[in-house]
Assembly symmetry: C2
């Protein structure tokens, strides 16, 4: 099930790809689509239904909409052709032809990204992975899964659940995002704390290079030290040097026991203490530590009136702690001991522990509903930042103070800003700073940028912890990376994609 | 403390770098060292003692020996100059000069590798990391360590132990190997099963490129999605595209409780069952599952008469299981329940559990002594292979059968082969096939190669699980990698090191 924004008022938000970046011009080196090009693709893909053709006006602009825009309605392209290849070989033929004919392309999975990475900017051809959707193999001794790029994350996880295993990545968009897109964007998500990053868990990839070369590197070995680990360039490469068509990944066993606690905390100082204690006392069974401020929860409960607040009264901060282990009795004992300890030391003010799977889901909904609820009023300025833990929440406070000063924040329609909230993956030092707005507004943006990036750069953080660069952060990468590194990145791009047809106008 | 081979008879083994690879000729593009070159380096490094100079005959061949040979006495170079820079800037000046003057170099850490990767082949200059040996910083909330490349692994781990943390890598050579070398060779070791590979735990590197460019990418963030993850090319790059001068790495908390069990098992079938049960029942606390065959243990106890056999009688296989967790009582209960279960089901024949730290060390010594004891008779043919679990031990049996047929194996001096043994990291599907010999012998090698590589290739394994390619496996990489991938690897090499001065004659 796709999880998308709801509410209708956000339609008033102007999409902003090229409006927002007026300096970006269509690269005139790229060819314009002709009926002859379209005829070639129709021949390769066999059936017309796999080619969504706006060139010959066979479909309307509305039919193209899901491929031309993102769910936040923030980025908007003008592609006239969507291709849905059904095999790696078809991807190879498509890319070779595009490269030979200088046709720019955008690889696209579930299109759930937050930085415009999977949305065309101008008329790039969308190559969508939805038909590359097969599980290729699974070894239930080693836990290694090989699957097509277009398998939906939740589908992969469900397949693994039936076999006692777990996909080592989980995130709010799991119902619609594709695992190939997850790897291409190096998605982080809710359980990186426990299972580590995709750079460690992905064992191999199959990818097609712009010239049609198929790089078949679907290793099913946990250890293989035979040369440069090239697949790593594609993990987080955002489709700029090739298109991932399949992955192999090491999956952990699914925990037999799971516990979730939802706690109220008085201050960010105490939140840090709670995290330190959780790491020390819950150790190897800690699988998530999520932080939310009061304002983020207030917005959730304004929109999701169906959700019950887990705790009485309001607390300045909330955290969700999850444990996953192999022995329910041991895990419960560890969690109870921890809770008694942190309540006794007054680190935590109030708390509740889920008693069954339904309650576990209800508690997780408090956290997972935040991103979608923030869009309710119209739009969201989203910042996905890595910040040293001690400094992390200070950025939210300072941002809020700036808006309070500006007079742009308030409860009525003339105020563009609804609220400034902070939440995120405490365990990974990953803050989501979000400014919920009634409409995108230059005055709001001027307050935020480049101030936020400068702030993050000053504390040696990262301007994109897990969402990637896309088009949104292309111009700001210098706040996180040195000139030397950007130069080396450009070398890699030129090496693999000398014509620059892969996902142009984005990344570095 | 360096852990090296002991016994003296191995001196009879002929070293084999260029003897073994007669097709390798010194690349005439490289300059020969002159006194002027040496004078430059002496000026850069400030003190004479940091330059070991065989060019001006200031030192003898014996002084050069530790840098020109490996501990197995298998690889031998003829370098006349060893440089020991004390800073990244010095490395930069050295490499730039070498690149400008076409002087070939070999980056060298503790020189504990097994594939000749850190030993010169001809007269390459050795750049040794031993003076880059400082811990730069440690954050005891996030567990992130930043340290110079030349810090000895055991020193780093001891530093972390004092702060309640653990280096997420452990291996037999820890007393002398350098962490920079570990990262450059993507070392796997004893606890990859639990803490994952260095591709996941290393967060950043500082490296010097051949042209002297310093790539300063010492991120201390667990999440940073701002561009291609270039550091990954250096992890396992074996010093062929640049020299690592520092790393940042995410370290887990040191477990409060540790248990080690040593078990006797009747067959390889039962060994696989024991592994499956251990994964299922010990789950998140399982930190090592090591397999040894009877012959490997017999050789250990022939050499190490000081070591007591942990079990009565002889068993066809042994395994060492380690658990690491946050609650001693829970861990002990899990381990006891597991042992009762596998003994009850007759998966395991006999077993012993360490009662204290001394016994833990004694049990680990049964496993960790294997590599050094095998060298006792003269030499070892070592194969470090990833093989699907079900096929893994069959290779040892078939290799043994081939030698039995050949008449080359036996107890007396006219037989070159002492024994064929198998041991390794069951948890990572990583077999160490070792042939202990009295002397290196062409007839032995003809039986082994390319047969072993063909065998591994046929079951889709890897010819180097964790030791790397070095010079030993350069010519065999085609058994594990496709032509496409080898071509792409060569592109990367040419991109970073167009003059080919970095660790030549090796890798791909």
């Amino acid at each position: 099930m796709p999880r998308r924004c709801f509410g209708t008022s956000r339609k008033s938000c102007a999409a902003y790809t090229t409006d927002k970046y007026p300096s970006i011009k269509r690269d005139s080196r790229f060819a314009e689509l002709t009926p002859e090009h379209v005829a070639f693709f129709k021949e390769v893909l066999g059936k017309d239904s796999y080619v969504i053709d706006g060139v010959n006006a066979e479909v309307s602009v509305d039919d193209m909409e899901p491929y031309n825009g993102d769910w936040m309605r923030k980025y908007r392209g003008h592609c006239k052709l969507v291709l849905k290849p059904g095999s790696t070989e078809e991807v190879s033929k498509i890319l070779k032809y595009c490269n030979d004919n200088l046709l720019a392309v955008v690889p696209q999975g579930g299109n759930t990204g937050l930085v415009g990475g999977s949305v065309p900017v101008f008329d790039e051809i969308v190559i969508n992975t939805s038909r590359l959707n097969k599980i290729r193999s699974f070894d239930d001794v080693s836990g290694i899964l090989v699957a097509d790029a277009g398998v939906v994350l939740e589908v992969a996880d469900q397949y693994l659940a039936e076999r006692g295993y777990l996909f080592p990545l989980d995130l709010g968009a799991k119902g619609s995002c594709h695992i190939g897109g997850n790897v291409a964007t190096n998605a982080g998500g809710l359980r990186l704390l426990r299972y580590g990053s995709l750079h460690g868990t992905v064992l191999g990839i199959e990818a097609v290079l712009p010239d049609g070369t198929i790089l078949k590197d679907l290793s099913t070995l946990r250890k293989d030290n035979t040369g440069y680990d090239l697949k790593q360039l594609f993990i987080g490469g955002e489709g700029t040097i090739g298109m991932i068509t399949a992955i192999s990944i090491h999956c952990p066993q699914r925990a037999k026991a799971k516990n979730v606690a939802f706690l109220g905390v008085d201050s960010y100082e105490k939140m840090q203490s709670a995290f330190r204690e959780a790491k020390a006392q819950l150790g190897e069974i800690l699988s998530a530590f999520e932080m939310m401020d009061a304002r983020s929860q207030n917005l959730v409960h304004t929109v999701r009136t169906d959700l019950k607040r887990p705790l009485d009264g309001e607390h300045p901060f909330y955290c969700l702690i999850e444990t996953s282990g192999s022995n329910a009795e041991h895990d419960t004992e560890k969690l109870e001991t921890f809770l008694e300890d942190v309540m006794g030391k007054e680190i935590v003010t109030d708390g509740v522990v889920a008693q069954d799977e339904t309650q576990i889901k209800a508690l997780w909904a408090q956290r997972e509903s935040v991103p979608e609820c923030l869009g309710h009023w119209g739009g969201v300025y989203k910042y996905d930042l890595s910040i040293p833990l001690k400094d992390m929440y200070r950025l939210v406070e300072e941002t809020k103070a700036k808006f309070d000063e500006s007079g742009l924040i308030g409860e009525t329609a003339e105020h563009p800003v609804v609220d400034v909230v902070g939440y995120g993956h405490m365990g990974d030092s990953n803050l989501h700073l979000n400014v919920a707005v009634r409409r995108y507004d230059d005055r709001v943006e001027k307050i935020l940028e480049p101030w936020v990036y400068e702030w993050v750069s000053a504390v040696k953080g990262s301007i994109s912890a897990e969402h990637g660069l896309g088009i949104a952060k292309k111009n700001f990468v210098g706040y996180s990376q040195s000139e030397t590194k950007i130069k080396l990145m450009k070398q890699i791009k030129n090496l693999y994609d000398p014509n620059g047809i892969m996902n142009p106008y984005k990344y570095v």
